[in-house]
Symmetry: C2
Subunit: 529 residues, 2 copies
């Protein structure tokens, strides 16, 4: 599913030449569009390229910037001093030294008619002990267990099927020509690879002050530190990032100025914050000014929910059409990326199934090529067994249209759960010390606690010991939340505030209400309310 | 499937204390053994440890060496000079700095009865659009397509199944107590991780002079170079490795003495060589002398074939029993590893299916733990979809006994193909210039060509240009082989000999014969025979 395009001309910021508006490619137009495209190769482990399914309009756009050599700095950036060539060479020593696999080079000879290959090392398919795989999947539009029981579809992947069809995704959006995508063994692995492609030991990366703890823990053992940028209700504050970068002191930090921004723009983990379109544009401008490379991690992108209808309010009706649904989504950084400075990490983990270890990235051809060179001699492609299961479901069974039905269904389910969570807070939580905002996307509710009102403060308790007491008392009362401090990007930053993260993705509405009631009770005891 | 134990006492070399002989655990004894063990945890993404299925006998053995601090060098090694502490600290800066995942730490609270968790970030299973998965698999003992069509079994993995049972593998073999195993996203990825755990930029690793090109290409972009050890018909020559290491000149090489040996002991890629038990013992002794860490890559271990019955001979009958089959297999390095200096890379790619991206490693607890810390924030576990498919087939359907049937079936299939390949060579190849030995395992036939008899030599052609001519002429005649030089571990080494690799895994017996006939014809023209 491609993120919606912005209807504003972002290019005005860098280039005044007009870009031809592509024919809008609607969901219904996909089958016709595919019929005109080249058939995808059907051989075992056949090579595949994004160029097989890009719209011809794409090639009328300018190409992405390259990040491995000196180039003219962005006009806006001219007032900012660069540290020279080193800063402009964004690829790591490791990434630059990767060559194409020797053995894959021999594939060029396979096109000769009648050739018998004794060259490879793959077993013959007759020695794979799987004849076929049947997958039972739920039924649209309700996708309920009862309907599925009665009329769920069984999808079959046969051993000798000739795979036809094409990728599910048609990204017409990036406003430059040479974008590519490739599958990854999941977003965590894609992020690990991004760090190895872009960073050296000793570098800093830019992260939101609260971030996905695993993303930070991927970076630290590589000798990479986090520069934590303050956040508000809309997430990353661009002015704060600008300040930090404009005042970067290479000597004092003992590191070159950071140029990789890791951000979770939608339903951020852990804060639940979603950056508005305006916020994203402002962040992108700062990225241009400081020549940053943006890695946007978007597992929650399609968990954007209905607007919160207020205390006690019922959810608004679902989007009437697929187009309405797509229009309701906040634009991705990818759709704003006139320069080719964004790599989007995509995942099925929150919208189809976690643990498939099948994800994908979209970025400029140069970047994707460097990722692929790494994958070839490391993770290789995602599991073929998982690929075929997802292919049968997403492409052959659902198609774009069925997938949108599924996503709209999920949107309403998550809206209902989010509402349960927020209503439970409204009903139970002591407002004297607790503050929250209904999240617009994702699966996390971020609750601020005014720890300065804790009675233990007078007897010398610290902020950290109070956070721990609140956490452990809640466990004692039978509810597990995540402590905000677990998600600090830079553990050396002293926290002024205190937060707890509660997910509404896993427990039922009744359990959510019960859990929040327990947490509220525990807080009242703690705070003598 | 565990590799067979050696019946000699390898410990004599390091320690004179006797190790109690474990009760032999036969294939038929596995179900009874399992019944006595703890049930495996059934929660979503439950933690699991090798200690859940190890034999109690295991804990009577000594523990593995540690590789992160100074320890008393091996007595035999005392005559060899070490470069000091740095050499004895085997873990990389990256590996040593890895910590346990913060969020996984919160799992300790989940055992509290009645606890409602709002802590995690996994979606609820009702939002996974897979109800069940049916897998059709072939039928023992013949596993033929016709039998399968009639009576192949369908295995079902339901969404709400409670997974019971245990790991397929019971490794009673490593002669130290604290071995562990963990799944990997395939052996290529496990090897990439081994390099990141054990090496720093600038290091050398030890490889066979001809090796799997991708394994070398995994290492090079990490700034790691290969020390190439000469080979004979049995693969790596231990005396040659000893010489190279004993005469290591740190100054001249600009690198510390290498301590990681990468070897493919069975059906080596590309040479097809299999190290005998004696050869392995000799290599292990050199590894002890120089305090090496051995990474054994064993995808072809269970493709050990029937002995070659000679020119025109028919294959010998299959092993009569499972025990006979297991006894016929050459012991692994793991079974010789009294010190805990071996990491075995295991793969399903050659015996079940390539591309599942599910493999596993066996090594000491210390090493496995460092691998797992890396996996947690990178590849994570292998694809759950692939895991369930393999679990249903290997554990619930085949069990140890059915898997051994499958492996014996494969052994006979590969023996037949190997024989076709060797017989075709005997029939067609010009013996004046071509030399080969029937491989004992794997899928590769390694053909030496006496390039010094090439008529082009007189007119100034080089060895390399002759190799290229032979390769391209063969392609012209409709047969693709792999050039031996593609597999050189150290491209700067001047080759004295010339080889071509032919696989018998992919083409049918008829095609193999036709292809070898074409290659032979092309050689005759080239060499004016």
């Amino acid at each position: 599913m491609s993120p919606p395009a912005l209807d504003v001309d972002m290019r005005g910021d860098t280039d005044t030449s007009a870009v031809p508006v592509p024919d809008p490619l609607t969901v219904n137009g996909v089958p016709g569009w595919r019929a005109k495209m080249a058939q995808i190769p059907t051989g075992v482990a056949a090579a595949c390229s994004s160029d097989m399914f890009k719209s011809p309009n794409c090639y009328t756009k300018p190409k992405a910037k390259r990040f491995d050599r000196k180039y003219t700095p962005h006009p806006v950036a001219e007032t900012v001093s660069f540290a020279g060539d080193v800063v402009l060479d964004r690829l790591s020593v490791e990434a630059k030294s990767r060559k194409q696999s020797t053995l894959k080079g021999a594939a060029q000879y396979l096109k000769k008619p009648g050739l018998i290959s004794l060259g490879g090392g793959l077993p013959s398919p007759e020695y794979f002990p799987f004849e076929h795989l049947d997958i039972k999947v739920p039924t649209a539009p309700g996708f309920s267990p009862e309907e599925t029981q009665k009329s769920g579809s069984v999808l079959r992947a046969g051993k000798h099927d000739i795979q036809e069809g094409n990728s599910l995704y048609d990204y017409s959006q990036p406003p430059y020509a040479d974008w590519h995508c490739t599958m990854t063994a999941g977003s965590t692995y894609a992020w690990d690879t991004a760090l190895r492609v872009l960073c050296e030991r000793g570098d800093y990366i830019i992260m939101e002050e609260y971030t996905f703890a695993s993303a930070a823990e991927t970076a630290f053992p590589l000798g990479i530190k986090a520069l934590a940028v303050p956040m508000d209700d809309q997430g990353l504050i661009p002015e704060a990032m600008d300040d930090l970068l404009s005042n970067w002191d290479t000597e004092a930090r003992g590191a070159r100025k950071p140029f990789v921004l890791y951000t979770i723009p939608t339903g951020q983990n852990p804060t639940g914050a979603t950056q508005s379109a305006e916020r994203r544009r402002a962040v992108y401008k700062v990225a241009q000014r400081h020549d940053l490379y943006i890695v946007e991690d978007e597992p929650y992108y399609f968990l954007q929910m209905q607007p919160y209808a207020g205390e006690g309010g019922a959810p608004l009706p679902p989007p009437a059409t697929h187009e309405d649904f797509i229009k309701s989504l906040t634009p991705s950084y990818l759709s704003l990326d006139v320069d080719g400075r964004v790599c989007r990490l995509e995942s099925f983990s929150k919208v189809v199934s976690p643990g498939s270890r099948v994800g994908w990235i979209v970025a400029s051809e140069q970047m994707v090529e460097r990722f692929v060179r790494n994958f070839e001699v490391s993770s290789q492609n995602p599991s073929g067994i998982a690929q075929i299961v997802l292919f049968k479901l997403l492409d052959e069974h659902w198609g774009h249209s069925g997938y949108l039905d599924w996503l709209i269904n999920l949107r309403m389910q998550y809206t209902g759960r989010r509402d349960s969570m927020v209503h439970a807070c409204e009903q139970h939580m002591p407002r004297e010390i607790a503050r929250w905002k209904a999240p617009a996307a994702g699966m996390f509710h971020w609750i601020e606690i005014d720890w300065r009102k804790h009675p233990g403060l007078a007897s010398g308790k610290t902020r950290d010991s109070i956070e721990e007491e609140i956490f452990l008392s809640a466990v004692d009362q039978g509810v597990l939340l995540s402590r905000g401090s677990w998600f600090k990007a830079d553990s050396s930053v002293v926290e002024d505030k205190m937060f707890f993260r509660a997910t509404f993705a896993a427990a039922s509405s009744e359990k959510i209400s019960e859990a929040i009631s327990r947490f509220a009770g525990s807080l009242r005891v703690q705070f003598h309310l």
